[in-house]
Amino acid sequence: MVAQSNDVIPLVASGLSVKFGGLLALNELNIEVRRGEVLGLIGPNGSGKTTFFNVISGIYAASAGKVLLDGQDITTLKPYQIAAHGLARTFQRSRLCLSLSVFDNLMLGAVRRLNSGLWYNLLRRDRLAVDVRSAAEEARDLLAVFNPDLAGKLWEPAISLGMIDRRRLEICRALIGRPKIVLLDEPSAGMTHDETNQLMNEILEVRQNLGNLTIVIVEHEMGLIERATDRCVVLNYGKKICEGKYADIAADPLVREAYLGKS
């Protein structure tokens, strides 16, 4: 893997456009995500936030422009190749494997770090047992940060968890692979105000343990954006209309117009 030099900007989208039939979902987007920062990505519904995540993670193909991850061009790579470069994400509508256990769902997040060799998995059962034990330990610790009794349900099927615990599981799934960049797609959806705050604290705490992980977060909860992000980018109809600290963009007339419509 490319040695991670500090001066290279982790994630750069330049002139990025995506067309669905006639609809221009993303329009010449230029976004840079600096190392170790928490970048907020905000904008009204349908402004292209999730589409941006889907293009970066390789699910949708870009119609024009380029995406660089750690200086490498990942525009045309498939999702599993991009994941190998250390990018992880959560989904707006949770995509957990509900019939699998909590542990299995977490392990999916750690694919990069686990040995998938046939020989190893089928014949080196003793070594595998050790691996599973340490993985279970690590999973428990990570879950404990978010919710101690969630850590006790390692072998329960994901379907038995409540909505919020499922959201926490999905976030842990993204974090357990020790990615370089995490894309969080509306982590607070469906949560009350204080639940969102508590969740954000847990995310920031884990971020410390993982050594200043770079996070891009899509959110509607403005309080959370204000408290957690270093910088923000505002999208509207697939275009970047504003960038900067939360305080500055909040005051920007263009942003207010995008959200509230012409006054």
């Binding site: 889907n54 699910i59 949708y60 989904f91």
Partner: protein
Amino acid sequence: MSSIAQYLLNGLMQGTIYGLVAIGFTIFFGVMNVIKFSHGDVLTFGAFGGLVAAWVATALGFPIWLELVFVIVAAVMASAVIGAVIAQGLVLPLKDAPPLNMLLMTMMVGTAIRECIRLFFPNGTNPQKFPELLPSGGFDLSGIYFRYDGLILIAAGIAFIFLVQWIINRTRLGLAIRAVAEDGETARTMGINFTLTVVIAFAIGSMTAGVAGALYGLYYSEINYGMGLILAIIGFSAAIVGGLGNIWGAIIGGYLFAGLQTAVVAFLPALSDYKNVIALIVVVALIAWRPTGLLAERGSERV
């Protein structure tokens, strides 16, 4: 040259029957996302219904044209009834079961229908003579032998295809069926009676099989209890190649499959018994090239 046209005529007739069967598959898939594999045997059931109607008609001394109408109506009604019964009794209860369960269940229903006809229809195993109700003979046009009944049946088949097309796309009932196909829950909230629409859709889909069964009997003047399985496999392939959920796709798929079969025999007679093998190879190749059929199925997966 003349035999080329003759092949074309044969291919057209086969294509019409495959198209009608494929339409049924597309409707079931559209409405309930289900592959009803008993569809071929519903066709056989319709054909036998028509045969019984023919016996009754001759017993009552109906004139030919009345007997013809009576046979087609009986075939259509027989298939519609059994199609609706299968929908109500077996498909709807298994609505939420995994697709594999539904697929296997419909295959077993097909087997059960086949066995019932074989065992309980008098001399069910033997091929049955289907009465010749259309004017026989034909006329020669520059070497090509056009049969009256062949032409009439192709026209009737195509007419029915347009009728179903019209029902689905132009009537309120068609609108309800398409709404249910698009999104069952929303259709329900819009006040559409989900169960009734599904059952009616299955009945219409089965009617196409009934017509195909009657046409089959009239064209080949012979039907047998086992003809449904191979027609189901071909109809299913045609519907898939055309793109499931798309009526025109099913029709094109049907004619494509018939064309393939006829072409193999016409141009490669030595390989005539590999006819189905070659046609299926092309089907698999097409699917590899266009995994959701020629006319792409409804929208790709939402992320």
